[in-house]
Homo-oligomer: 476 residues x 2
C-alpha cells in the first residue's frame, strides 16, 4: 500500500482541529455525563477495538484515500480544467454517499451564493448536486441550465441505482436529441472499475470515466473521485484537502486513547448511547458547515444503525443524527435541548476565525438596548451567542462536545472528514457491529424494483400487495 508521509509544516499544525470533551464528563455536568470510572472499565473493549482497527486496516481502503489518489490526481485536475473552460454548468447526479460529499465541499469551501455571483466573480461553472428524483426538482433544474453548456457527472458505484440511472436516461435522451454524437462529451461517469451498467454504458458511449476504488463505500468516498472531481471543478485545492486528511489520519493512528481525538470522541458517544442518549446533535456555528452536518448524518446513521452485532445477536443500535445550525436553531431547537428529555449529545462546532468580518455600526445611541451592539462585529456577536448557548446547556447539565476549527479551509475540512470517518469506524468496533454495510436499505429498493416491473421481482410484488390497507376509521 503506497503510504506517503507528508512533510507537515508548522503552519499546518497551527491549523489543527481541537476537540474539547470535558463537558461529556460526570465531573463537569453531573449524572448525565460519563464517569472516568466507566472509561477505565472499558479498557478491554477499547484494546480490542484498537487492535481491530489496525488488523482490519487493509479492509478499510477509505482510510488510505489520502495516500492512494496520487495516480488519479492529475487526471482529475486536467478534466476539471477542461470542464471549467468549456462548460457554464456542472451537475452532479448521484444520491446518498454519491452526492453528500460533493455538496459538503461546495458548501464549506465556496462562496455561499456561488451560483448567483456574476460570471466574472464566480470564475467557473454554476454547480448543482441533484440528489432527488422529485419531478418538480428536476424540472426546476432544467429551467435554469442550458444542456448545451452543461457537463453532467453521473455517480453511482454499482451502476444500478434507480434514481441516478433514471436521471442518466433523461439527460442522455435530451442531449442526443439536441447534440447528436457530441452528447457523449457532456457526460462523465464515476463508477466501479469493471462492473455494473453505468460502466457498460460508459464504454459503449465513450464517456470519460472515473473509478470509485474497491472497498470504498459511498459514505466513505468523498476523498475519492466521487468528491474530488466535483471539488476540482469548483477550483477547490484537492491536494490540500487530502493533506489535511492524511495529517489527521497520522495523528489518529495513536494507541493511547487519551491522545486520539477520533477514538476518544467515539468512546464517549458510545458510552452516552448506552445510557439512553440516542440522539446526536451536530451544531456548527457556521452556515458553511450546514452540509457537513448532513454528510455526518449519513455517515453516523447508516454505519451505526444496525439490528445485529457481528455475531448476529439482536442489538438495534444507533444514534439519530440531528442537524442544528448556530445561531439560527437557537431559536428553534435550544428550548428542547435545555428542557426536554436527557436523550442527546450535542456537538458544537466552533469556528475560531471566520473568513469575513462584518462591523456592526453604532447607531441610535440613546436606545441602550440596541446601542450596546454597536462598534462591535457580527463575529463578536456570533461568538457571544455560541458561548451563551454552551453555558445554557452546561447549566442544564446536558452532555456536549466542542470541535474547534481554526478556520474553514481545505486543510481543516480534510482533517474533519478523516476524523469523523475514523470516529465512526471506531464506534462501530466498540459496538461490535458491521460498520460498512446497509442491509436495512435493500428491502425498500427491491420493492421499488417490484413496483416498477423489473423482471424477477414478481413474487415480492405479490407480497407487497398483502400489506394491510388498514381500518377506514383511521384514515380521514
Amino acid at each position: 500500500m503506497p503510504m506517503q508521509q507528508y512533510p507537515f509544516t508548522e503552519e499546518e499544525k497551527a491549523e489543527d482541529i481541537k476537540c474539547d470533551y470535558n463537558f461529556m464528563l460526570e465531573e463537569n455536568i453531573g449524572p448525565a455525563g460519563v464517569s472516568l470510572d466507566e472509561i477505565d472499565k472499558q479498557k478491554e473493549l477499547i484494546n480490542i477495538a484498537l487492535y481491530n482497527m489496525r488488523q482490519k486496516r487493509f479492509l478499510m481502503q477509505w482510510r488510505d484515500l489520502p495516500y492512494t489518489q496520487d495516480d488519479v490526481m492529475q487526471d482529475i485536475l486536467n478534466t476539471a480544467e477542461v470542464i471549467r473552460n468549456k462548460f457554464d454548468y456542472f451537475v452532479v447526479f448521484g444520491i446518498g454517499g454519491s452526492a453528500l460529499g460533493a455538496r459538503m465541499l461546495f458548501n464549506s469551501l465556496k462562496h455561499l451564493k456561488h451560483n448567483e455571483l456574476p460570471d466574472h466573480v464566480r470564475n467557473g461553472p454554476k454547480f448543482y448536486v441533484e440528489d432527488n428524483i422529485d419531478p418538480e426538482g428536476l424540472r426546476a433544474l432544467f429551467d435554469v441550465i442550458e444542456p448545451e453548456k452543461t457537463c453532467f457527472n453521473i455517480i453511482t458505484k454499482s451502476g444500478n441505482t434507480s434514481e441516478t440511472m433514471s436521471q442518466l436516461l433523461i439527460v442522455t435522451d435530451m442531449l442526443k436529441s439536441r447534440l447528436g454524437a457530441k452528447a457523449s462529451s457532456h457526460i462523465i461517469a464515476t463508477t466501479d472499475e469493471t462492473e455494473g451498467n453505468l460502466k457498460r454504458i460508459a464504454l459503449a458511449e465513450g464517456y470519460e470515466t472515473f473509478i470509485v476504488p474497491q472497498g470504498v463505500g459511498g459514505r466513505f468516498s468523498v476523498l475519492s473521485p466521487v468528491g474530488l472531481l466535483p471539488a476540482a471543478v469548483l477550483g477547490i485545492d484537492i491536494a490540500k484537502l487530502l493533506e489535511g486528511a492524511a495529517y489527521m489520519d497520522s495523528i489518529c493512528d495513536e494507541y493511547d486513547i487519551y491522545k486520539n481525538k477520533a477514538y476518544m470522541g467515539a468512546l464517549l458517544q458510545v458510552l452516552a448511547m448506552q445510557t439512553g442518549k440516542n440522539i446526536s446533535v451536530m451544531m456548527p456555528y457556521s452556515s458553511a458547515m450546514d452540509y457537513f452536518a448532513s454528510w455526518y448524518a449519513q455517515l453516523w446513521a447508516e454505519s451505526l444503525g444496525k439490528k445485529n452485532d457481528i455475531k448476529g445477536m439482536p442489538l438495534y443500535s444507533g444514534q439519530t443524527p440531528v442537524k442544528a445550525i448556530g445561531v439560527t436553531d437557537q431559536h428553534s431547537q435550544i428550548q428542547l435541548y435545555t428542557e426536554g428529555p436527557y436523550d442527546k449529545v450535542i456537538t458544537f462546532m466552533s469556528i475560531e476565525k471566520y473568513r469575513e468580518v462584518v462591523d456592526i455600526p453604532l447607531l441610535y445611541e440613546l436606545i441602550k438596548d440596541i446601542s450596546f451592539l454597536g462598534d462591535k462585529t457580527l463575529n463578536d456577536l456570533i461568538k457571544a451567542e455560541e458561548q451563551g448557548t454552551m453555558y445554557a446547556i452546561f447549566k442544564a447539565k446536558r452532555p456536549f462536545m466542542k470541535i474547534i476549527v481554526p478556520e474553514i479551509n481545505e486543510h481543516t475540512i480534510g482533517q474533519l472528514i478523516q476524523m469523523y470517518e475514523l470516529m465512526t469506524a471506531f464506534a462501530g468496533e466498540l459496538l461490535e457491529i458491521n460498520t460498512f454495510n446497509q442491509p436495512g436499505v435493500e428491502l425498500g429498493k427491491d420493492v421499488t424494483y417490484a413496483l416498477m416491473g423489473k423482471p424477477g421481482y414478481e413474487e415480492l410484488l405479490k407480497e407487497v400487495q398483502t400489506m394491510p390497507k388498514g381500518d377506514n376509521r383511521f384514515i380521514f
Copy 2:
C-alpha cells in the same frame, strides 16, 4: 371575535389533506404500536384537553388568524405590489419564527430555483431569508444583491432580538451612506403594535410597519403579516392560503377525536412518546416540503420541549423533530430507521399529484436492469420508492403516519399549517404543559447580552466566567 364562515366549494373539499394513522397501531405493526385500549383509556385526559382547547381559544389568537387578517390584507397586497414593481431584491431579516414561515412558503409554493430564473420568467424580486448572523453568510448576501434595488423586511416581535437588530443596524448604515434620506423607503418593519425598539426606530425613521398581532408567538405567526407580506411579495395567493387554514380549522373544531385529524395525530404521537418514541421524523416525498419540515421542527420542539408541567412538576417532555427528505434520505437515514432503536415515529408526507411530470425515456433496451425504468415517469418512480420505503418500515414493525397531500398549493399548505398548529396545541394539552412559552431560551440570550456588554448584566458575566475550563487531558 370576527369569525367568518367561508363558503367552501366542492373543488376545495377535493383538495382535502388526508391522514392515515393505521400504522401507528399495535394491530398493524405489533408491540411498537399504540393499542386501541390505550386510546380508550385516555378518554378522560382527551376530554379535558378538548375542553381546554375550547376554553382557552381566546388565548390562542394564532388560531383565528385565518379569520382576522381581513383588515390588513389589502395593505399587504398593496405594499407587495409596490415592492414587486420597485425592487429587484427582497430580503427578510428575522430568526426562528420570524423566518421559518416565509422560507417554508417560498420553498413550497414557488419555483425551486426561483432566484436563478431569468428575470422575465421569475417575474418578481429575488428573495432571501437571512436567519443567521454568520459574517460569511451576510457578506455572501451583500455580494449578490444591490442595496439600491433591495427592500429589507425586518421582522422581530419584541424589537429586541440581537441578531435581527444587528442586521438592521448594518443595513441602515449601508443604505443611509448610499441613499441618504431615501434609505427609509427600503425598510419595512414587522413588529409589535406599540412596544419595543424596532417600533421606536420605525416611528423615528418613518418605516412602513406591519403588526405582529397580540398573543401570536413567533412559531405560530406565519399566517400574520410575518409570513403573509413576504408571501405576497412572491406573488403567492395569500387569500387562498388563509382559506385553506380556515377550512382545516373548521373541520378540526370537532369533539369526536375519531373525526379530528389534528387531535388524533397529537394523541397518537403523545402515546408513542410515552413508550420511548422520543424522535419525530418528518419525511416528505418532495423537495418543495423541505422547509415545511424545518418549520414543523421549530413548532414541535419549542412547544413541547418543556421541563415542567403546568403545575410546576418536573416532566422533561418533548420529541426531537428530524427532517428527512424522500427519496434522498432513503440513502442516508432509512438504514437506521429500519434497524436502529425503536425510538421513532415517522411521518411520511405523500404528494398525490406533483406539479410536473418528467418522462423517463426507453433506452438501452438490451440492459434489462436499466430498461425496466424506461417508458415510465419520474413520478412513477418516486411513488414506487415511497411505497417501497413504507413497506420496509412496516415490515420492520416501526410506527408511522401518512399525511396525504393532493397537490402542493396555497389551499393545501394553508390546511397543513393550521393542522400542525392545532396538533401541537392539542399535544401540549395532553402533556399538560405550557405550549406557548420558551423559558429555556432565556439564559442563552442573557449570557449573550452579558458577553456583549449590555448594561445590567454585569453579575451574570461574572457567573459565566466561573464555568469550569475543564481538564487539559480532555482537550486535544
